[in-house]
């Protein structure tokens, strides 16, 4: 899916729980998500904290969309 949208000329960021699968399907801009049942949420957190977490991920996704890249890039916090 991500490839077809990009092929149409629209920049797309993939917010994905399993980054390697995202790499395999050919996403170019990848933002790691939280976990499988709730990629952009964390039920353990309070409502405000959870929404802030979601906002952080979405903002990272927007940054990814504004970043010039030449190859598949994972926009994650850890430096490794």
């Amino acid at each position: 899916m991500v490839k077809e949208i990009e092929r149409a000329g629209i920049p797309v960021v993939h917010v994905a729980t399993v980054v390697p699968i995202s790499m395999t399907v050919g996403a170019n801009r990848i933002v790691p998500a939280v976990a499988i049942p709730h990629p952009l949420g964390q039920p353990d957190l309070g409502e405000t904290e959870e929404k802030q977490l979601r906002k952080d991920i979405v903002e990272k996704a927007l940054i990814a969309l504004q970043t010039d890249i030449n190859e598949q890039t994972v926009f994650s916090d850890d430096k490794e």
């Binding site: 399993v18 980054v19 390697p20 790499m23 395999t24 490794e80």
Partner: protein, 121 residues
């Protein structure tokens, strides 16, 4: 070494490597699916899941060595997925049959020596 786990359905592995962590499963498919599950939980393959030249599905016994790692190992994921694909392909063309006890043991020995050779290094 102590962190390793061997996923296996080979009884000879269980006998031979008492000091190692062995996860004994019922059948060949489980060896692969269990290994894949572990890869998704940040374990990486130490031995190749298609070790040896006896074709997938032909040898009813298989052992795979994994070790814990810090994050998802993409190479392991790719390798185990490809191996499962190959296993399924060979299974399709390979009628299941009952081997004699002697042949079963020969297959167990083959698998055992592959793992032996991996653990030596």
């Amino acid at each position: 070494m102590k962190d390793l786990v061997i996923i296996t359905n080979n009884p000879k592995i269980k006998e031979k490597f008492e000091e190692l962590k062995i996860d004994f499963v019922d059948n060949l498919s489980d060896v692969y699916s269990k290994s894949r599950d572990l890869v998704h939980q940040d374990w990486k393959l130490m031995s190749h899941p298609l070790a040896g030249s006896v074709k997938p599905a032909q040898n009813p016994y298989r052992s795979i060595i994994l070790a814990p790692t810090k994050k998802l190992d993409f190479y392991s994921l790719n390798t185990i997925e490809n191996a499962i694909q190959k296993l399924n392909q060979f299974k399709k063309d390979h009628k299941k049959r009952e081997y004699s006890q002697k042949i079963k043991e020969d297959y167990q020995v083959i698998d055992l020596t592959l793992i032996n050779s991996a653990l030596k290094n």
